[in-house]
């Protein structure tokens, strides 16, 4: 008996619908059909009038969720793909994200973004939007990498009073399996050191955590001990855990699947150099996707995003400094 990442997300939503009458689900094809990725499978039958299909209107979906939150609800909005949230960008960053600061009334909405690339998904079904949303004040941006985090963090996200951008990785949906959804259940905003080491620190999140661990396993054969930090939440960013790790290793590589200009990896490196310059024994490195749209062909796609090979290469360069 095993649980996949997508099962965990479905389970979390079932738990939330069962335990909190303020929760409802709103999204495209999520009711009878159960969602493009089946993250809401069976929920509309279990919870009549709590799970709704909506028009293909991403802007209105979020505007509507903000209105519902004002009235005391805790909506979970499923974007069919993270990429399409760009249509809702205005409502997310200007309506939802500014509301608490402006009016003092928090907006507890959770926006689920099926994120990241899978082979063949192409430019418009593969994007990683966490960096863009993290740039805006007033949003919490979560990027679970494990089955248990997918479950616990989604439940925690809905309980938070602020708007949460919940970035689920599509590649992990069915590929990632665990024995159960039990985990250590760290609070939101805390990173986790998932592999300890002493020669270099890799900071990663979402699917890249798994690629980083594979790279670390390969380098272990050469005697290198690589520490891997899973950010879990990219905003807030748990820079303390990152700094503590860099203090042990003196070397930092930040890995992300998003486009290379700015973003989470740049933020990690900027914060570490600002606050922990004296801890660094080598120039910190970043590894991101390439600066092109996400390509369709699996071969191009595999070379577009960081892989265990490219992470190993970046680490070797870092270790050789």
């Amino acid at each position: 008996m095993s649980v996949t990442y997508i099962d965990a997300i479905r389970e979390a939503q079932e738990t939330l619908l069962r335990d909190d009458p303020r929760v409802f689900l709103y999204g495209q094809d999520i009711a009878t059909f159960g969602g493009a990725f089946k993250a809401t499978k069976g929920l509309s039958e279990m919870f009549p009038n709590r799970v709704f299909d909506c028009p293909i209107s991403e802007d209105a979906m979020i505007g509507m969720a903000v209105g519902a939150a004002i009235e005391g609800m805790r909506p979970i909005i499923e974007m069919q793909f993270a990429d399409f949230s760009s249509i809702a960008f205005n409502q997310i960053v200007n309506q939802a994200a500014t509301h608490y600061y402006r009016t003092g009334m928090p907006i507890p909405i959770t926006v689920r973004l099926p994120s990241g690339g899978t082979p063949g998904s192409g430019p418009f079904h593969s994007q990683s939007m966490e960096g863009i949303y993290s740039q805006y004040p007033g949003l919490i941006v979560l990027t679970p990498a494990s089955v248990s985090d997918a479950y616990h963090m989604l439940i925690d996200a809905v309980k938070l009073d602020d708007p949460v951008i919940f970035c689920e990785h599509k590649f992990l949906y069915r590929w990632l399996k665990a024995k159960s959804i039990n985990g250590d259940h760290l609070p939101i905003g805390q990173a986790r050191i998932i592999r300890s080491g002493k020669h270099a620190t890799v900071v990663a999140y979402s699917a890249m955590v798994h690629e980083a661990v594979r790279a670390a396993e390969r380098l272990q054969q050469d005697g290198w001990e690589i520490e891997v930090v899973d950010l879990r939440s990219v905003k807030p960013l748990d820079i303390d855990t990152v700094l503590a790790s860099v203090a042990r290793t003196g070397r930092l590589l930040a890995v992300g699947e998003a486009f290379p200009w700015g973003g989470v990896t740049a933020e990690v490196i900027s914060r570490v150099t600002e606050e922990g310059f004296h801890l660094l024994d080598a120039p910190p490195q970043r590894l991101n996707a390439r600066d092109t749209p996400v390509p369709y062909h699996p071969k191009l796609w595999a070379a577009h995003r960081p892989t265990p090979e490219s992470i190993c290469q970046a680490l070797r360069k870092l270790l050789a400094f």
Binding site: R50, A60, I70, N90, N94, Y100, Y101, N182, P187, Q190
Partner: protein, 348 residues
């Protein structure tokens, strides 16, 4: 004089018209003061007047019931805000940046509201409030608290061109929500005239495409506003879904007080919709014996005093203090306590 016939009960109408007109007058006098404060350098950013739109806005605000209905005002809805029950000091404080105002200096001018009291605070991105009001109504339906309450918002002819307007109105129609959407077609979106904004003869034609009721009216005529808007609200309350009301009028000011509106042609200015809805309403009220000139003068004096007092008060109030602001956009305070349960042994 094309007086619109009063179709409602006479007493109710008398009170409604007196109340709506009072709000129109209030908005006009308060906005004149704001304009003056802006031109004296007391207000930063901008001042946006509802001059010419008072009849439509006040009618809507008067017809809605605070504490029950939802009103999402937009840029030129001072009259509606006042009619709905927004304390005038909220307006003055927000324009002057007082820490005591609802936005506490964090946002200004017309970007204010009290969402907990059914009046959300607008954002500048046009059309965005349509889906927001839909969401508020949707939530009430889910919570079982909708009853016969309605939600209303106003937008301009320009905002009707946005995707958000379409998405929001379509969603409200799909969900059959009791929403009243008023388009104040004041003929110019900032400086852009109607013929560069839409190609249909009248925006009300769009109602048909959304499968909802549409009304078109002369927004300079308080009587017409009273009968049509009340009707639209009644239909929404009855459960007939969203109602689209298009009011034809003319903005009697620039986009903001930084703009003199030179681009409005003289013949449009001097045309039918260039008439001042307040002057017309005053004549209508006096000629129908609904209010006397003396009464109206007394209201004017009273309102001027009120406004002056509010300005005096807000000017003396503290400005926000950047050194003591909490500078956070989140209500959640991180780091969160780590209250995880003790690890359970894994059974296999």
């Amino acid at each position: 004089m094309d007086l619109h016939p009063i179709t409602d009960g006479v007493t109710k109408s008398r009170e409604f018209l007196r109340s709506a007109f009072h709000s129109m007058l209030y908005a006009r006098i308060m906005e004149n003061k704001l304009s003056s404060l802006y031109k004296a350098g007391k207000i930063v950013g901008g001042v946006y007047l509802g001059r010419g739109q008072e009849a439509v806005s006040a009618t809507l605000g008067t017809a809605l019931v605070q504490g029950k209905d939802i009103f999402a005002p937009l840029i030129r809805d001072q009259a509606g805000r006042t009619a709905f029950g927004e304390p005038p000091i909220d307006c003055i404080r927000t324009y002057l940046g007082s820490i005591e105002g609802p936005m506490r200096g964090r946002d200004g001018n017309i970007h204010r509201g009290r969402p907990a009291d059914g009046m959300p605070a607008m954002i500048s991105h046009l059309g965005a409030q349509v889906s927001l009001v839909a969401g508020m109504l949707f939530a009430r339906r889910l919570l079982g608290t909708l009853g016969d309450s309605v939600g209303a918002t106003c937008i301009g002819d320009g905002a009707a061109s946005t995707g958000a307007f379409h998405e929001g109105l379509n969603l409200a129609a799909v969900e059959k929500l009791p929403m009243v959407l008023i388009i104040a077609n004041n003929q110019f979106a900032y400086s852009t005239p109607n013929n560069r904004q839409f190609a249909c003869a009248d925006l009300v034609e769009r109602a048909r495409g959304y499968g909802i009721n549409g009304f078109s009216l002369d927004g300079t005529d308080l009587m017409a506003c009273t009968s049509v808007i009340n009707e639209a609200i009644r239909l929404a309350r009855e459960g007939q879904g969203p109602q689209l009301v298009v009011a034809r009028l003319l903005r009697l000011s620039g986009h903001g007080e930084h703009d003199d509106g030179f681009y409005v042609p003289t013949d449009v200015r001097n045309g039918h919709y260039g008439r001042d809805c307040i002057e017309l309403a005053m004549r209508q009220l006096v000629e129908n014996g609904i209010a006397s000139l003396d009464e109206i003068r007394a209201w004017q004096d009273q309102i001027s005093d009120d406004v002056q007092r509010a300005v005096a008060q807000a000017q003396q109030e503290a400005a926000p203090d950047p050194y003591h602001d909490d500078w956070t956009a989140l209500s959640t305070r991180f780091p969160l306590p780590n209250n995880q349960p003790a690890a359970l042994p894994v059974l296999s």
